[in-house]
């Protein structure tokens, strides 16, 4: 018989939730994660195609077995309409990054070239600092972050992952379509 006594360190999983757009919903979900000891790597929440629902994307680093538990526990919350783990191969994921680089003006040209390579844009320029905006899968932003580091990152802000499944599949159950 298999058992789940300890929570083994796991891999990254993306969980997508469709929730009622009501006060306190974020608190309910975040509270569930914290009291059951599920660490959140990132959490994003925002509006959807319908005003009465929000969509959350939660990235966790857990074993596959624990993720199944998480999904079942989250499903029990009344304002959660649907929750699913998105399988990596069917996943379009994006993240937004803003990075403030403090570097002398002579480096700006090199930075611009680097930004271009990563399809990033320079959105603010002052004599000794500029702000780079980039978006894409987390891995791409990790790489860009690594390349920016030698220039001197003053401040960095990442949005956390948002994701949709490829194809016609949607998260909303038939009952609310």
């Amino acid at each position: 018989m298999e058992r789940t006594e300890e929570k083994p360190a796991g891999s990254t999983h993306t969980i997508s939730l469709l929730v009622e757009n009501k006060p306190g919903v974020l608190h309910r979900i975040a509270g569930l994660f914290s009291r059951r000891g599920y660490n959140i790597a990132s959490l994003t929440v925002g509006p959807t195609e319908r005003a009465d629902y929000s969509r959350m994307t939660i990235v966790v680093r857990l074993s596959t077995k624990t993720v199944e538990q998480v999904v079942r526990q989250v499903q029990k919350l009344v304002p959660v309409v649907e929750v699913r783990e998105l399988v990596p191969q069917d996943l379009i994921e994006r993240e937004l990054m803003l990075a403030k680089i403090r570097t002398p003006e002579r480096n700006h040209a090199e930075l611009r070239a680097l930004a271009e390579t990563y399809e990033a844009t320079i959105v603010d320029v002052s004599p000794d600092a500029l702000v780079v905006e980039a978006s894409g899968p987390a891995g791409k932003l990790d790489a860009l972050e690594e390349r920016l580091r030698p220039f001197g990152i003053q401040e960095l802000c990442r949005s956390g992952r948002i994701a949709l499944e490829r194809g016609f599949k949607t998260l909303a159950p038939p009952s609310i379509k």
């Binding site: 018989m1 058992r3 538990q69 029990k76 919350l77």
Partner: protein
Amino acid sequence: MGKEKITGAMAVRRALEAEGVEVVFGMPGGTILPIYDAMFGCERPRQVLVRHEQVGGHAAEGFALATGRVGVCFGTSGPGATNLVTAIADAYMDSVPLVAITGNVATSLIGSDAFQEADITGITMPITKHNWLVTDVHDLPRILKEAFYVARTGRPGPVLVDIPKDVQNAEFEFEYPETVSIPGYHPPVREEPRLKDAAALIRSASRPVLYLGGGVRSAGAHQEVREFAELLDAPVITTLHGKGAFPETHPLCLGMFGMHGSKYANFTVQGSDLIVALGARFDDRVTGKLSTFAPEAKVIHLDVDPAEISKLVTATVPLVGDLRRLLPQLTAEVRRVFAEQGRPDLAPWKRRVAEWQAKHPMRYEQAGQKYLLPQYVVETLWRKTGGKAVVTTGVGEHQMFAAQWWKTTEPRQFITSGGLGTMGFCLPSAIGIQLGRPGELVIGIDGDGSFQMTLQDLATARDLDLPIKIFVLNNLFLGMVRQWQELFYENRFAQTPLPDRPDLVKLADAYGCLGLRARTTEELDRVIDQALAHRDGPVIVDVRVRRQEKVFPMVPAGAPLNDMIDGE
């Protein structure tokens, strides 16, 4: 129901009437005044005034557990609401359908640290199935309808509706909805139940055991369980809340297993090759050390809550659904498989179980003892009532003695605080049970420590002339903690001896109740007869028992289930 213009407070009354609520336990206060005013003179639901909101909560639980209907309690804002927290947490752990309604400060004051303001929806989020803060009176009918629906359906549990005072006073056109539509509250069961796989496992098992939990009671499935158990003809073990799911006097029943279960029940689960778990959640108090739990067993796990499946012990075959609906389907499938392939030969297994029963019986010896033994007290009560009573308990040693020696034969006959282990549960619960089942004998088996946590509500029991009988197994100790100190802390009795006060006989008298005391077997016989004959209000019996009698067998916390210590 036609539309009419009424206040939010009156809407609460109308909703409770529409839900068929019979009794509401609670205490008024500043912010719930409009609701109490609307309830003034209301005969159904009847109002019960408690002396502490926690008692109202537990009484509502007792009512719910005894009747299968939703329990309802009221509290005012701030301390009134926070006093309900323990009862709500208790109901959450034990899946008790409970609707708690609290007043709150006016919406304009919320968030301003106003007098008697508490964020009770925030506080109770982790201990309710769901809760609502009503900010617009127009939402109130829908929310109340949803609250009752969520509390009683699926895996039952507590909900809380917090209603600010201005919302209670606001007038609107009231109409109580007839149906509920909550987009996120249809627990989707996507897979077809794997009945064939389950039946095949049962057919191939040679050492099966049925493990029954509180879910059988919630589902009202004891008939279905009995039919299934008798078809399998396999040993049956229960949890604390599984008591009554199957008659403990039945030859297949081994009673309770786990930390204070019988040795033979624990040996049976440990030696099994198949566990069929019905409405149970593999709590640490029954599994002992998880990695050594039933090492050779496959598991069929039937539960209404998908999140319980494979939470602690991985199910070989999960079956998610309502026991009462799903179990007869499994019974039919197993019957078909048995007819086709013959029954498995369980005779050797049942012989082994019978050997364990013969070799390790549950026992105690009153003869030759100077003091009353708690086991003897429970068994004598059982004998003298013919087991025809609804029993409730506090939490501690007395609770385990009651669980071990009170043989439960009917569902909803043994009502206790299991998951949260809330001392002080007994008296409030007895009040709720007696109101829910007025014609029946209600017996509380309490401890001296537990009793003192909620004893002020003897007043409530007396107000209502409830003929409840509370037997306090008095050992002048916080006994269960003392037992652990004896076993694991070298008899260092840190803060567990309780001074001999109050005098429970005088206390009973002060509350207008009958107070009795027994120290010997003869006195016990006499006071039980007296207590059972007394119909004019509550009876408190101070039963002085052997001070350091311990509950055995015992599986130390975190030890393997077959690692039991006993008194030898």
